[in-house]
């Protein structure tokens, strides 16, 4: 089911959580809302679910083109998975999952047998056979989250909304559940919206990623696009580590110390400050100038305990630089602490100062 959020503004007292946000979720896709805390992603999710209302007159939510903004949450047929599970602590796993079906009004309530079969199906789906009679206090965090998911799926929701579902879990469990969620989505094909502050999670699981900050959408796109072609400084900085250089536009080019680069906006923005963003793995270290744009730097520290080698340097401009390379590359480069080297760029993004009027 396609969802649309139109021009949503939401304030809590003096705090503005969402500023005129519009979003379209395509039928059957898994969309991730990604951003730091306070970005408004959870608020947007809750408004879609009906757990919050937009400010009066400030936006609407549409399901399949129908305006549901004023519809009660219980009538929207959405499945919501809470960050802290919100399992009913006085009910067993079975009763939790069956809840949504049991509270239906008489006329719409399925038969006992149907409920039993459906719940058992879901329990098998989440691999918790044999635990139907357990209470949530007897389950691990990962198991509880799976029950929460099954409970949401039991009502055959038109859309599945997940609020940082794996936030409270250990790293290993998180990874396993992430993959499991993706596989589940491929099987069940329910339109899903996932809120997370973990960019690895968003990039790994989602069909499209929505990057949010301070109540606004910064960029929407497929994971590759958002990562490799960030639309703004914030997006680039947020997604993965980055090296930052300060400079300005001078004589039509972007100048960062000794580093001079062509920049498409250079002609119109003479004298304006600019920032250069480079990923650590888009930098190469050589003993000499290798013909590509770059700068001289001195090696401060080498960290080789890890999947990659990280070399920390100080550029001649005084800025700190981090370069990542594979162990093989490092051995070939024969670089050590104290060495004076040349760092060249393979790829980078230049952003002009953001002027918000």
């Amino acid at each position: 089911m396609a969802i649309e959020a139109r021009n949503i503004t939401k304030t809590f007292g003096r705090f503005t959580a969402l500023r005129d946000v519009s979003l379209e979720v395509k039928e059957g896709e898994l969309l991730a809302l990604l951003g730091p805390s306070g970005s408004g992603k959870t608020t947007l999710l809750r408004i879609i679910a009906g757990l919050e209302r937009p400010d009066p007159g400030a936006g609407s939510v549409l399901f399949e083109g129908q305006d549901v903004t004023d519809q009660r949450t219980g009538q929207r047929r959405v499945g919501f998975v809470f960050q802290h599970y919100a399992l009913f602590r006085n009910m067993t796993v079975f009763e939790n999952i069956a809840f949504g079906l049991r509270v239906r009004p008489r006329a719409e309530r399925p038969s006992k047998k149907y409920i039993q079969d459906r719940v058992r199906e879901l329990i098998a789906l989440i691999h918790l056979e044999g635990m139907a009679d357990r209470y949530s206090s007897q389950l691990s965090g990962g198991q509880r989250q799976r029950v929460a998911l099954a409970r949401a799926l039991a009502i055959e929701p038109k859309v599945l909304l997940l609020d940082e579902p794996f936030g409270a879990l250990d790293a290993k469990v998180r990874q396993g559940l992430r993959r499991w969620l993706r596989r589940l989505h491929d099987e069940v094909h329910v339109t899903s919206v996932l809120v997370t502050h973990d960019q690895d999670e968003a990039l790994e699981v989602a069909d499209r990623v929505v990057v949010m900050n301070q109540g606004r959408i910064q960029q929407i796109g497929a994971p590759e696009e958002v990562f490799h072609h960030p639309a703004s400084e914030f997006v680039m900085d947020f997604m993965g580590s980055v090296n930052l250089f300060h400079g300005r536009i001078d004589g039509g080019k972007a100048v960062f110390g000794q580093l001079v680069l062509d920049h498409p906006n250079g002609t119109g923005a003479e004298g304006q400050p600019a920032r250069l963003f480079v990923r650590p793995y888009d930098l190469d270290i050589h003993a000499q100038h290798d013909g590509r744009p770059g700068l001289r730097a001195r090696v401060e520290r080498v960290q080789s305990a890890g999947p990659q080698v990280r070399v920390e340097l100080v550029a001649e401009t005084g800025e700190a630089v981090t370069v990542e390379m594979s162990h093989v590359q490092f051995r070939d480069s024969r670089v050590g602490p104290g060495d004076s080297v040349y760092v060249s760029l393979r790829d980078a993004r230049i952003f002009m100062e953001d002027y918000t009027i």
Binding site: F80, L87, V103, S136, A168
Partner: protein
Amino acid sequence: MKPRSDAAHHDPALLRYGLILVALLFLGLFVVLPLIAVFAQALEKGWGAYWAAITEPDALSSIRLTLLAAGIAVPLNVVFGLAAAWAIAEFQFRGKNVLITLIDLPFAVSPVIAGLIYVLMFGAQGWFGPWLNQRDIKIIFAVPGIVLATVFVTFPFVARELIPLMQAQGTEEEEAALVLGASGWQLFWRVTLPNIKWSLLYGVILCAARAMGEFGAVSVVSGHIRGETNTMPLHVEILYNEYNFAAAFAVASLLALLALVTLGAKRLLEWKVRQDYSSLTAVEGAEG
């Protein structure tokens, strides 16, 4: 949590035994001895007299009235307690703390004053006195007055147990139930109520025990009409003032037994209630 008693090895044995002795003597003198005295005096004239004292018609009607007053006061205060806890724990509104303090007021008021205020309202010279007189409705010196006074003194008990627990439990489960399609009543019966059942029971027991044992407030509104407006505590007073000690203690012993049962139920439920609170942290714990 580690039992605290393992800190005991820090204190020298002499001090330990000394303090335990002082504590036990103090409690023995002020708590145990009076308790024993009640039963000893009740049986002074033997089982026959004991049985006669508690089955005598006035005694029986006092028992009936006590149960009636409690039987009305407790459900009324339970409904109030649930309503107040729901409004206070699940919503944010201005003046919440004022409301909570007001609910505690009956605790701060002397029982005699609790009775006085109803006399001022419904007594012969009270606000509604003439109005009630015209219609031949008796509140003071009659059962309704006793019920009112009992409701007043037991007013906060249930609310005080429920409010902190429900506040600690938060609203997430209720929100989850709403998204799944539950109606207001369904969510209250299936989600909220089961989560508070032990605290509710605890509050009910405290409320009932106090309702049956109340003396000062009921004494003021009752009129002490034998066989009609005497609750058990008042009946005890009458017997005592007539120097009918054995009978007075016999009826008193029933109330003492009630107190002991209350204490026992309290212990059992306290453990359950503590589980309710500790399960909160267990559910939100972050393990793999």
